[in-house]
Amino acid sequence: MDETQIRVSRPMLKVLKIMIERPQTPYSGAEIGREVDLGSGTLYPLLQRLENAGWLKSDWEDVNPSEAGRPRRRLYRLTGHGQTLAGRALAEVQTAPGVLAWGS
């Protein structure tokens, strides 16, 4: 199996949906969790799977924690390849018969 192919779950689609809307915007885990209403128990393994498959990449936020007064965040964004695959996965869900619309 191709390493970039992963089983796309419903929570994963939710994450991909918000990320594909603004592909250049980096999101922290906390922001993604808040946006899609996912707990940390589900979120981080999901992000790791997407990252391992090359759909997402993550980097540390470019801030000085002492100046910002908070720890630096790990920010995720879609890769070019991830955008293509995410778009395809979302399109498949939207066109699949009998699939209820999810999210808003």
Binding site: S40, G41, P45, R70, R73, R74
Partner: protein
Amino acid sequence: MGLLTSLLEWVVAFVAGFLGHVVAHDFCEVTPMISEKIIEAAASQLPVSIRERYLDEWRADLWDQPGSIAKLKWAFGCFWSARRLRLQDACASRNRMSIGFTFENGETVRLDVATLTWLGSTLKLLTLTAWLPMPLRTKLLQGVTSASAVVTAKRYGAVPDQQRLRQLLLVLSRSSNKNVQLRFYIDGIAAKEALGDLWSDDPMGPTQKALEMIPELKKGRKQ
């Protein structure tokens, strides 16, 4: 009497309210600390290679959680996710496995996954040629391993470089020494933690063991 009862009720309600406030206040005070401890415990379950990254990430995301209850909930979630992250990382690490050989003199050689298949076939050859004197065997194997390197490069798209070739030859030449320690690593050359060790006084022991272990390591069963 009625007035006294009302007064008592009022005092009890006041005290209960006050204590409730104190307890709630204390709970809010200690919850971030408890959450932090939970996150540290969660991160400690992770493999070394990803431990620090997730600890920092979780701390930052915990900081962003509004309120004590949300922080606590997030921290418990991290504890749960650590287990799954560990499993997923083990699967993803299949391509980052390595085998290390530690020799009597303390020298360690590690081989990464691109070399493993190559090593497997070469070790078979080593077993077959065990009856040969070592200098002759090393010389013979040198040519064979170079050829194997080309085959491996074509098949796996990873070119075993000169350094790897030297490492392998070193393993082969030293494997006949007594007291060879075979170490199995996950996470490739960066890992500090060995999966397991095997000491052997039998010169062919470690190489035979490596032959048995390689397929298992490649399947990611060993953690």
